[in-house]
Amino acid sequence: MSTPPSEGETRSQVLRLLGEIAPEADTTSLRPDVSFRDQLDLDSMDFLNFVVALHKEFHIEIPEADYPKYMTLNGCLIQLSAARS
């Protein structure tokens, strides 16, 4: 049994996926509790693509009604950690 990934690893995975969608974005100074869209130039299609990418990367089901929970970095980390436990 492998050890679960650390929060740091999950965090860099999430940021990498964000970087795939918006390569121009500087994610180093992201405020973790402020929505991505308030800090980065993302439109609604970008956000949709981001959630789909999370689903593929982490093999978790994300119902549409839960999308708002993934709008911040901390939101993503909380959801992903809950999905794994």
Binding site: P23, E24, S44, M45, D46
Partner: protein, 586 residues
């Protein structure tokens, strides 16, 4: 035709629709009558949009009623009564006066949906300068292009947008004399080369008297995109307000005391004609939500603010459909009487889903930047044919035409025949020109018709059906994107030899922007380069305009004369036979 019409009956009407009898209202309608519903400036001084939208209510029984109810991202609720809006727009008009702005100068606003945007828009109209909105998700390049073409004299924007998108291009904008900034949470700003908007508003508390305004005086400049060339500024006049006002009543069924919510951003024409002007001329309370789409937030707004008429867009409706009906059923939406949609054709599934989720269908309607207001619509009292854009408004004559070899057009009267959708000029909100481009304007007309660039059909009962675009313009999330604007940025990258941009069909956004590029010698396709190009385009164009997908090709297909064949690329993308690009018109 697999979708049954949605039959309306008198039993469905708690409020009798304004357009209760399409045929008779259409027959009796005249634009003079529509105009007579407005006050006009005192002492016969003409017709001014801001007077009809604000001043006349601020001095009447609606003075203390909320004109705009602003909902901030962080949960703030701010009501702007007609009287308060009158005062604030007076201050803005006086500010322009103080800056030496004169009638006809262009005042651009680059901002999200914040109250200052609405104050600047209406204050600019009072001062008889031209209001020119810019979508806040534009990157520096689309902003620079529009400010340059429109020779902007004043730009109103936020400190953050200025720093991110304008400061770097400022020196390329010699016409831009004044930049008025809104600080974060309305705080003071101290950015070189700019002034603080609130400081100026405080310095100008005086009343403002609107000067004589001819109905043909320029009022609004809305940028839109064509297949080729730079963005074009569609010019509208103050007299357009007669159309904004009456189409609100007839197509959106505005009644006194309605709470109306238009979800469109004023960066696009819908957000100005129906997000600012029409609800106010009709004396309604207009909801403005600063935040972006989120199903739960939206249902909460509909419920908490007792929205009765709602005007939204297909992309948002399709996102709500993905969330499902369980969520919406938790909300009490009884006041909601009429649902409308615009931006791109609404698929029949979405029209019908409205009934499932809200107990009422969505009413699709059709118009464009150049028409200034709704032209063809499904009405509250008329049966809805799901997937159809509806029937022309009273005062609007629409036809399906085919271009002839002699440069004229032939009207196709047979039902269900595909051709270009055309309108008979003469309605008040028709554009009066493309800014400084008379030739481009002229090309839009033939044999007494305005040619819309949309391909459509008309059925035997007079309902119109959208088929596609006659050109290569991309329709995405309700916005028009010109491929040329995107291609021009991509070829600025050192590795790119050529670029072609198409609309790739998408189940949510209708189309997404997809770019094909070929590389210069010495550059090889790679994942790293693809990402670099994506970031390069996004940083310059902004998320709303930049491609979502980029693919490499060794060369791009061209005609003998060397023109890149976007349609062939689109055929390949759709898996259509390459020789058969005619179906792409469909």
């Amino acid at each position: 035709m697999p979708w049954n019409p949605i039959i309306k009956s008198r039993r469905d009407w708690e409020t009798i629709p304004n357009l209760h009898d399409y045929e008779s209202v259409r027959k009796e309608f005249s634009w003079e009558q529509a105009r007579a519903e407005l006050d006009g400036l005192p002492e016969g001084q003409g017709l001014n949009i801001a007077h009809e939208a604000v001043v006349r209510h601020a001095t009447g029984p609606l003075a203390q009623q909320a004109a705009i109810r602003w909902l901030g991202k962080s949960g703030q609720v701010e009501d702007y009564s007609y009287a308060r809006l009158d005062d604030l727009t007076n201050r803005f008009a006086n500010t322009l006066q103080g800056l030496g702005v004169v009638k006809g100068d262009r005042v651009f606003v680059l901002a999200g949906r914040i109250p200052e945007l609405y104050i600047a828009a209406l204050g600019t109209l009072k001062h008889r300068a031209l209001f020119c909105p810019l979508f806040s998700a534009f990157g520096p390049e689309p902003i620079r292009a529009r400010l340059t073409i429109g020779q902007a004299k004043v730009l109103v924007t936020t400190e953050s947008l200025y720093q991110r998108k304008v400061a770097g291009i400022r020196e390329t904008l010699p016409h831009l004399e004044h930049v008025l900034l809104i600080g974060e949470e309305r705080r003071q700003t101290a950015v070189p080369g700019t002034q603080n908007l609130y400081q100026l508003l405080e310095q100008h508390p005086r009343p403002y008297r609107i000067g004589p305004t001819d109905p043909e005086d320029a009022a609004l400049l809305h940028f839109t995109s064509g297949t080729t060339g730079t963005p074009k500024g569609a010019l509208h006049v103050h007299g357009a307000v007669a159309a904004h006002h009456i189409t609100g009543k007839l197509a959106l069924d505005f009644h006194p005391a309605d709470i109306f919510w238009c979800t469109a951003d004023p960066g696009w024409v819908t957000g100005t004609s129906y997000g600012i002007i029409a609800p106010l001329t009709n004396g309604l309370t207009s909801i403005v939500d600063e935040a972006d789409f989120e199903a739960e937030r939206w249902y909460g707004i509909l419920q908490d603010h007792r929205v009765s008429v709602w005007y939204t867009a297909p992309t948002a409706i399709r996102m709500m459909m993905k969330v499902g009906v369980d969520l919406v059923r938790k909300y009490d939406l009884r006041p909601l009487r009429f649902l409308a949609s615009v931006g791109e054709p609404l698929n029949p599934e979405a029209v019908v889903w409205g009934e499932k989720a809200f107990g009422r269908p969505f009413h699709d309607n059709w118009w464009q930047t150049e028409t200034g207001g709704i032209m063809i619509a499904n009405y509250a009292a008329m049966d809805v044919r799901p997937g159809s854009m509806g029937r022309p408004l009273p005062g609007i004559e629409a036809g399906i035409v085919k271009k002839t070899e002699s440069g004229g057009v032939e009207v196709l009267n047979e039902p269900d025949v595909q051709g270009e959708l055309a309108l008979r000029p003469g309605w008040p909100s028709m554009f009066r020109g493309y800014w400084n481009e008379p030739e481009r304007y002229k090309k839009c007309f033939a044999d007494g018709w305005y040619l819309t660039g949309d391909v459509a059909k008309k059925d035997a009962d007079g309902y119109f059906w959208f088929v596609g675009r006659a050109d290569d313009v991309i329709k995405t999330s309700g916005h028009l994107i010109g491929p040329f604007e995107v291609e021009s940025v991509l070829i600025e990258h050192t590795a790119v030899a050529e670029a072609a941009v198409i609309g790739k069909p998408d189940p949510v956004a209708m189309e997404i922007v997809k770019a094909f590029v070929s590389l210069k010698d010495g550059h090889e396709p790679s994942e790293a380069l693809r990402r670099e190009l994506l970031g390069f385009a996004r940083a310059r164009l902004g998320a709303a305009v930049a491609p979502k997908e980029i693919a490499f090709l060794p060369t791009l297909p061209k005609t003998r004369s060397g023109k890149i064949m976007r349609r062939l690329l689109k055929a390949r993308e759709l898996g259509l036979p390459e020789g058969d690009t005619s179906t792409l018109e469909a």
